[in-house]
Subunit: 190 residues, 2 copies
DNA sequence: TGTACATCAGTGAACGCGCGTTCACTGATGTAC
DNA sequence: TGTACATCAGTGAACGCGCGTTCACTGATGTAC
């Protein structure tokens, strides 16, 4: 185990430390509200260190997106066997629980979408979603439409909730609300 | 009519010119990819002029959001009498046709959400959406859920389409696709 | 087990640049007389 | 109709600052012998 307390010259885990600082900065100010130098300050390292690992801000956000899509795909695959219902709920929960990742992942102008790690995890996530939707469709055309509908539904709910756009009257646990909403739609789609 | 060709000392329409430059800049680089100075350059005016009208970037984006929500509310109210179906389609179409506005409107960290013009137009838009959903619901609880479902559906579809997240296999006219999707969901929700 | 050396993660000083902000100024316009 | 003046939209030079980038460097680590 390398040292955590930063008493050596070599950090040992600088890459991770910078990523964590980025996630915190995104949570506080969005993906655009900070500079690489501020990140270095947060992480307590030299201002040149982030560039040493990630090249530039786009490279750093590419790493965030890759990590995010990997966690996202894991979360969806974990419940894939339980049906499209649970996949939809997992989609919403991921967005609520991992807001900084979510805010980067669906803003492709922020990072390099052709990064191999991003592409692979993205495809895994899409696969879990489409496979789930396939289970409830009689025809291929209907299946395609149903998959897009479910995806739009859970993505829209998550985005609206995160941006605070839903009326204040909409109180209570967002996951419970999402469950009710998905049940309402699925009761007729299936 | 004031001069357009900018041969006088006074621009005559500088506020409009800066707003238009902002919309173009947002279309090209997102709401974060430019500075007030760059905007002034685009609009062909002194670099101090935008601040003269809008104070700072947040003030400028507040004006964009207010204008956007006004246009949005107009578009939804225009089809409100035709039912929730057409309101949903109008929602999607607004996002597709007015991407720069849409990208600002649902990112409340970018502007002052307590601006009176923003608040008024926002409430008008929400009213049109909720009134439409009310038409297809037997109970108040169901109505509330149905409204959130429709809203999530059309908002999610628009966001996913704009970010290019929908699979490339999903070709064709997005509005047609949105119509099919909304019909599929409404056929059972109503 | 000890020594020499290559590697490379991380440092920190220095650079030029574009930024937002300030401020004294310019000059077109509208109004009073 | 003409003159004087107040207003204020817009200018442009100057400022200090934080930024990304460069680059010679430091020093911990791993490997060869």
């Amino acid at each position: 185990m390398r040292q955590i307390s930063r008493q050596t010259y070599h950090h040992g885990n600088l890459r991770r430390a910078v990523l964590d600082a980025a996630l915190q900065a995104i949570a506080e100010a969005g993906p655009a509200g900070w500079s690489l130098r501020e990140l270095a300050r947060r992480a307590g390292v030299s201002h040149a260190a982030p560039a040493h690992h990630f090249g530039d801000k786009q490279g750093l956000l590419t790493a965030v997106a890759a990590e995010g899509f990997t966690m996202f795909a894991d979360a969806l695959e974990r419940v894939a066997a339980d049906g499209i219902w649970e996949v939809g709920v997992a989609y919403v929960r991921f967005g609520l629980d991992h807001r900084p990742y979510f805010e980067v992942m669906f803003r492709p102008d922020l990072y390099r979408t052709d990064d191999p790690a991003v592409v692979a995890a993205h495809e895994r996530a899409a696969g879990a979603l489409i496979a789930g939707a396939g289970s409830l469709s009689p025809t291929p055309e209907h299946e395609r439409l149903a998959a897009i509908a479910i995806w739009s539904l859970v993505h829209g709910f998550t985005s609206l909730w995160l941006s605070g756009a839903l009326p204040e009257s909409t109180t209570g646990d967002p996951e419970t609300l999402a469950r009710s909403m998905i049940r309402l739609v699925l009761s007729t789609l299936g």
